[in-house]
Structures are given as structure tokens and as C-alpha cells.
Symmetry: C2
Subunit: 512 residues, 2 copies
């Protein structure tokens, strides 16, 4: 058994059976090992940002890590932005980077780069394999780190000779430790705060955004007259009928400051404290008032759902269901506003859909209109490194082949990782991609105004995506994905209804 | 004057008048400053790999640095692979990365990342601006480092508040120091080696690949019966009629070992020692024999052309012209081989073209057929981080608007940075892109065989780009670039001849 084979055996023995790959020369023995050993689903992606974004969503959709396969430092570099997003989502990924053979590295051949230096900022664990006989143990350690609650990125650097040399020994990762709920002291403090009558908000993150935890948070909030917020961009939020209606922390800073005005206590459950996405001249970075207490019920590495359940019990909050959101909306007609678009989405999404939302500015108004949609999960760009929508759709659809994935994708962001459409076609994935085509970096127009600058011709041209217009059906067809353009909500409704009813990918350019 | 304005003034005062940009929120004041201050050509690119690849080729084509504008850590990350290639090409780039405001950074908002950590491996200079009043000085220092011979990458991190605060002071970079030629001692040693009669090869790199230096190397080689090699992938090599015919170091390791067999001396002129691109089991990493001396005539930071001229004088080598390469080839017909393809290229390229060659495996046979082409410059992927062809074409065409750029582009590599086609269309650049469409990662098929592995179905599918086929004319049209498909050399000839005769971009999918 060579080192590469021991790696594949270790991955499989540890329950990892999917690898998103963009291999190069230094990974040829790993590719050959994948060939010889059955059981691994290898998904080829045509750029590394697709690989890493797909691995992120695979975790979010399944709670299980996938492996990546990247080629040397520059290959890793191309995948870093979506690894950054994955790190902000607390996603577990076994990030495998092939590299120069150990004895070749000192010769500084052209592709030699500082792989560790680039990997470290997004990795909880970085290890370079040094010999074939240790690759199995190294891989098991990487997998264990990946599964450390709530999920982490491990980067395993695999020099070519550690893959090709004989003497490999398969290993197996140990089961991860279960996270602990909060201490009784912390629990009592939270209960005291909630009983005080002072204005209090629960800020939920990470696993506290699942259905059971949301219902516990909701009964606490109703019992104690508190508020609840989800993050601005949740990694995965259970939504739709039967789930409590939760708002996100608003993106525009003034709206966010209003939402937090007068709040005396924040209770964080698996969430960082709420801060603005960017700084603006003369405005605060923390969104809550200066006299507001911040109480951490559960750190990110603690069991948020169990802590919420314990808190609900301590408070004696009665079990309740999510409120009836009223009748499911009908498909909307008329001018294309965010609200009407979301109404059509709520009307036409199938049961248990996964919504990937990289709609950026246009998407801020989608939540209220979709409470009465069927149950679904909502996943967003967690780290602000745009270009994760199309890749995420690939990973989610691979992880959950019996669920429809609907991607709400800004046109500007789509261009960063557009090659992901090809993998949608090759793997015949059940994905409807809706390109929200406003032909500009709309968010930046708002930001330019927000910092007090009025765009002149140079600035305007730097935020403008027309001249020439992108023709999305042509781009999608060119990569093997069926596509059509919708100029009206009526056309969108017809295309969306038809696409979710058949298998395979479809792209809709929604012209705004 | 705010900090952003002082930056623009400093760039302009220092002769930098082109910025390749993919801006975000934290760069809005810089964008506003570009608006208010005339004189900067702002080129919008739809992904950061296009930005950095364009800046690389701008330097290679003009010898002058451009600035980039990237957005926070993930934006930089997306541009790292082509910065790695630029570093290997010794290209000068003022790499500007906007970031969180200084006071916002400690709050760890979602886009906060280790910008310095990611920048360091590809930068000779990294500085984070700390206050508006120092931005001009910081920018001047960055520009000075960029221009340090032979050219370097400087990364200037610009927190949003250092851009928006008042108190900016424009500065100006000092003129760069001229590089020194080699010492007389080193020169005498080289002369002694060349007179010895032992088999000797000159390995030229960097500025020693310009026309005058090549002619000096050529007369030395003819006078002393030595050989000359260019790097495997030169940053910029003067070629065609009137320039000496120089071969590149072969990529396949066995061919390279044959080329260096029996060599007793290597003389390096602005080039690293020749090593194989990757290691292979049981084969050496250094390409030259164990008993071969390596003599450095000029380090990369020394004046290679002047050292070669001095060496020619010392040796008394008579001035000679490049040999007559014979008649210019006619366009080829028949089956599409690399040789016939190169013959058509030689027949149809206009005078003084810039050839961007990311043809990877198919391109290895292009050189002998193009010696009799009109004078042209040949630029290649220097760092092995694939996906620089389309971006490089953008930068070369912006730097040299009166020269035709012809990009020879493998289909696999093209997908990494395909968004660059849109900038070709928006800027109406004189670029003919030829996609060499073999619908596979052809180089990896060879590498898989090279490491002794025979592809089975899994490996085969990981190296295969068909299923579905990419439709390049549709992809190009979708981004605003006119395009057509050639199935035969006759069709290629017609499309190539027509495209180089008119202005603006055109894409040809050459089906192999």
C-alpha cells in the first residue's frame, strides 16, 4: 500500500466518501488510488473556488465532512476565499493539498509556494505529511480536528513522494467528543436576565439555528417577552411552515442600530457579538447600546441547542408550536420587487428545498414573504468573500440528492466561480440557479452613497456590469446547463415551476 | 485631501496611471478619489485573478508597474495564484488591498482575515497603512520596492479609515537604482569557462531574453561553440525574424535530461538553476549532470544584458545577426498537429504581435515553426498556477494598444479566469483568443502515465473535460466577445486572418 492508498483507506474508514477535486500532477498517485479503491465519490470541479465552496455546503447540508483535493500552493490559494467563508460557517472540511515531493521542495521549482503560510489563516489544523508510513495517521488526525465541534477546517499537505512511496498504513479517526452544554452558573445568569423584565435579545448562531433549538428559543422569547435574531448571513437556518419566524440582524448599519436600540441585554448562543459588517465614518462598530450587557449562554464550541433546552426548562417556558404563518402565498405578478420575487419563491419552492442565498443587496427583503413557504433550509454567504453561491449549490446537491437546491445568485458574485455550472451539468444535480441580473455591483452603489461619495463617471463605470451585458443563458448553455431568461415575474413563475419539477440543473436569468 | 486622494496623487506623480480593479465596500473612498482626480485608467475586472494576471502582463509588456485594487483578505486570496506567477516572472506590481477600518478590525467582522499572512509569500514588501497622513509616504515606499530591479510585488493594505480620513499628503517615489553588471572577477571566470572547450550552456532569464541581450548571447555561443536555453516558460522572450532561435528547457524530464547530457558548465544569466518542474520517482530534480559546474554570471538582481555585452567584448566575439530563418511559412492545412498549428500562427500573426502562451501540453512544439514569423514577444505561465492566459491578454493589450495580442489557451486552464473575456469586450481590446479545445486535462494524462499509473474510470473522469463539452463560442458570446469554432486548420486560418485584421476581441475555439 502506498501513502496515497493509505489516505483513501483512512478517509473511507472514517466515513468520508466524497471528494471535491481539482487535481494536478503532484496528486496523480492520489487520483490513481481513488481509481483502485472503490467507494469514493469523486466530483471534478473546474476551479478551486468551486471545490472549496462545494465542500462547505456539503457539510452544512449533511453535517459530515467532505475532502477536497487541491494542487500545490496556487491551487490552495484559488480556494481560500471559500475556505474563509467555510471557516466563518464553522464547516468541517478535510482540505487536502498535494505538493512538491519532500526532496524536490528545496529546489524551488516554479510551483513551489508557502502552502502552510496560505493555509494557516483558514485552518484549525495544518500538517505536512513527511513519509508514506505516517500519512494514514496524519489523515486521521486531520479528520479528528475537522470533526471537533462545531466543525473546523484541517489542511493536510501531501508531498508527492509521501503519496507514491510504499509503506502506507491505513488508520481511522476516533469519534469526536460531544460538546458540553453551558454550566449551571451561566444558565442561572441567563434565566435571571430573562426574568428581569429588561429588554433582552437572544442572538442565535450555528447549530442553534436548527428546528428544535429555534423552537426552544422561541418559547423562551414568548415566555419572557424577549426578541430573537439570527445572524446577518446564517450558515444554515431552518425556515418555513412549522419553524418560528426569525429575522436576521439587518445589514444596513442604521437599520441595525434601530433594531438594537434600547436593548439592555444580549444573550449569545453560538454566535459572536453583533458588529457591523464594515465600519462607516462616525458610526459605531458594535451594534448594541453602550449600556447593554452581553451574556454568553453558549460559546461556539459549546452545545447551543442543549443550553437553550436547559434554559427553557429552567424558566418553565411552556412548549409551543411555531405560529401559523397564514396561507401559502400565490405566485406574484407585476413589477419585480424583492418582496414579490420572494412571494413567488414561497409559492413555488418544493417541500424541503435548500435555498442558497447569495442575492446580496436584492435579497435583504426575502424573509417575511417566505415564512409561509414549505419547510426549507436557508444558507448564506457567511464570510463575505463573494462567489460561493454556485459552488455551494454543487455541494448541497451532492450531499442531499433528494432535495431541490434553489440558488438565488447576484450576477456580479456569480462571475467569480461561474465554472461551477459545468459540475452541475456533469453530475446532473437538482439545482435551479436564479441569476438576479441587475447588471451592476448594486451593493457598492449603496456603499458609495453610505460613505458620502457620489459616483461620477469613473466610479460609476467601476460599479457597472453592463457594457457589455452578460448573457446568462448563453454562458450556462456553454457549460452544459439548460437556461432561459425571465423578464417578468410571470415568466419566472413558469420557469421556476417547471425547473423544480424535473431532475437536473436549470438556470434562470431574472432581469431586474 | 483625504488618504485615498493622497494615494491616487502619489501613484500618478510616480508614473503609475493604470489600475486593474475589483473593488468592494472598503475601497469606496479610493474609487471616489479615482473619480475626482483625472489621469488614471481604471480597468474593471470581474474576478481578482483577472486583476492580478492583467497587472503581471502589463509589466511584462511595458516594463512599468500597474496598480491593482482588491477587496479585503478573500479578494486578495482570489488574486494570489496570478501574483505567484507574477513573482516568478519578476513583475513589478503595486498591489493595493482595501481592508477593514483600523478601529473595526479588532471586532472580527465576517470579512476580517489575515491579509498580511496571505500577502507575504508573494510580496517583497508588505505594509499596512496606519493613518491618512502617512498613506502617501507608504505608497511611495511601495512603489519604490516594486521598481527595485528586476521588479517586485509590493502589497499596500489600505484600511478604510486611512482612505476616508482627511490629512492626506501626496508623495512621490524616488527613481529606482540601476542594477549593476557582474564583477570583473565573475566575468573573467565565465570567459575562462567558455574558452575551455568543455561543453557549456548559457541559461538566460528575465531581461536577458530581450533582443539585444539575446544577440549578445548568440554571438558568444557561436564564438565559443556553446549552447543557449531559455527557461521552460519565459516571462517575455523576443522571437521571430531578426532574433536568434532559442529553445526552451524541455518540460518532459527525460527530454530535459537528454538536452543537458554531457554538459560540463552552466552559465546562468538572470536565471535560477534548471530543475524539473515536478519530481518523479527515481529521477533527479536537477536537470544537469552531477559533475557539471554552475557559474552565475548575473544574479536576478544584477544587470544580465550588460553582463552579457561585457562578456562578448571580453571574449572578442564578433557582432553577428540572427541567422536567416528561411521563408515565412504558409498557413498549414491537413490534420491539426501542434507543428501545423504553429505554422499557421507564424503565417498569420501580424508584425510585433504579443503571443500569450498558456497552451500547456499542446504548445510544447510551437517554437521551431515560428522562428520565421515576424518579430513578436512570447509570454508564458511562469509559476505554474494555471489560469493566467486570459488575464495576461487583458494586461498586455492595455499596455500595448497598438500591438495584436494572440492568446494560445488550453481549455482546462481557461476556465479558471474565464471572466476576463468580459473585460476584453468592455475595453474593446485587440485580442485574439484561441482556445485549444482538447476537452481534457491533457497534461495530467501524461503525468499520470509519467508516475506509472494507468487511468481507470475514476481517474479518467477526473482528467476529462467532456460530458458535457464546453461550448466556447457560447461562453464568449455570453460575455460579449465575438467568437466562432474551427474544426479544421483551414477554418482556423480564415478566422485568425480575419480577427487580427480588425480591432476588438475575438475568440476561436480550435477543436483538437
Amino acid at each position: 500500500m502506498n501513502g496515497a492508498e493509505s489516505l483513501v483507506h483512512t478517509l473511507l474508514a472514517s466515513g468520508i466518501d466524497t471528494v471535491f477535486a481539482n487535481p494536478g500532477t503532484s496528486e496523480m498517485h492520489f487520483v490513481a488510488a481513488l481509481d483502485r479503491i472503490p467507494g469514493m465519490h469523486c466530483v471534478l470541479c473546474l476551479s478551486e473556488g468551486v471545490v472549496t465552496g462545494a465542500a462547505d455546503a456539503y457539510w452544512r447540508a449533511s453535517g459530515r465532512p467532505a475532502a477536497t483535493l487541491l494542487h500545490c500552493g496556487p491551487g490552495l490559494a484559488n480556494g481560500l476565499a471559500n475556505l474563509h467563508n467555510a471557516m466563518r460557517a464553522n464547516s468541517g472540511i478535510v482540505n487536502i493539498v498535494g505538493d512538491q515531493a519532500t526532496h524536490h521542495r528545496p529546489l524551488d521549482a516554479p510551483l513551489t509556494a508557502d502552502v502552510e503560510g496560505w493555509a494557516r489563516p483558514i485552518s484549525a489544523f495544518v500538517r505536512r505529511a513527511t513519509m508514506a508510513s505516517r500519512v494514514g495517521v496524519d489523515a486521521a488526525a486531520a479528520i479528528e480536528a475537522t470533526r471537533t465541534y462545531p466543525g473546523q477546517i484541517s489542511t493536510l499537505i501531501l508531498p508527492a513522494d509521501t503519496a507514491w512511496n510504499d509503506g502506507g498504513v491505513a488508520s481511522k479517526a476516533t469519534e469526536p467528543a460531544k460538546p458540553a452544554p453551558c454550566s449551571s452558573h451561566v444558565l442561572d445568569t441567563a434565566a435571571r436576565i430573562l426574568r428581569s423584565g429588561d429588554k433582552t435579545l437572544l442572538i442565535l448562531g450555528n447549530t442553534a439555528l436548527g428546528e428544535a433549538a429555534l423552537l426552544d428559543a422561541y418559547r423562551i422569547a414568548r415566555h419572557c417577552d424577549a426578541g430573537i435574531f439570527a445572524p446577518r448571513a446564517p450558515a444554515r437556518l431552518a425556515r418555513g411552515r412549522g419553524r418560528p419566524p426569525i429575522l436576521r440582524i439587518p445589514y444596513p448599519i442604521d437599520t441595525a442600530l434601530e433594531a438594537f436600540a434600547g436593548v439592555k441585554n444580549l444573550i449569545l448562543v453560538g454566535s459572536p457579538e453583533p458588529v457591523s459588517f464594515f465600519a462607516y465614518p462616525g458610526k459605531p462598530g458594535r451594534l448594541y447600546p453602550e449600556d447593554c450587557n452581553v451574556h454568553v449562554l453558549a460559546r461556539t464550541d459549546e452545545d447551543g441547542p442543549a443550553s437553550l433546552a436547559a434554559l427553557a426548562t429552567t424558566l418553565g417556558a411552556p412548549k409551543i408550536s411555531a405560529p401559523d404563518p397564514g396561507p401559502r402565498p400565490l405566485p406574484a405578478t407585476g413589477a419585480t420587487t424583492p418582496e414579490r420575487f420572494a412571494q413567488s419563491l414561497a409559492a413555488l419552492m418544493p417541500d424541503n428545498a435548500i435555498i442558497i442565498d447569495e442575492a446580496i443587496s436584492f435579497g435583504r427583503g426575502f424573509f417575511p414573504e417566505t415564512y409561509a413557504a414549505p419547510p426549507h433550509d436557508w444558507m448564506q454567504l457567511t464570510g463575505g468573500g463573494i462567489g460561493d453561491g454556485i459552488p455551494m449549490s454543487v455541494g448541497a446537491a451532492i450531499a442531499a440528492p433528494d432535495r431541490r437546491v434553489i440558488t438565488l445568485q447576484g450576477d456580479g458574485s456569480a462571475m467569480y466561480t461561474v465554472a461551477g455550472l459545468w459540475t452541475q451539468a456533469r453530475e446532473r444535480l437538482n439545482i435551479t440557479t436564479i441569476i438576479l441580473s441587475n447588471r451592476q455591483y448594486a451593493i457598492l452603489r449603496g456603499e458609495l452613497a453610505g460613505v458620502g461619495a457620489n459616483p461620477g463617471p469613473t466610479a460609476f463605470s467601476m460599479l457597472d456590469l453592463s457594457n457589455p451585458d452578460l448573457d446568462w443563458p448563453k454562458i450556462a448553455n456553454g457549460m452544459g446547463v439548460e437556461a432561459a431568461r425571465a423578464e417578468t415575474l410571470e415568466e419566472l413563475n413558469a420557469l421556476l415551476a417547471s425547473s423544480v419539477g424535473k431532475s437536473g440543473p436549470f438556470l434562470i436569468e431574472m432581469v431586474l
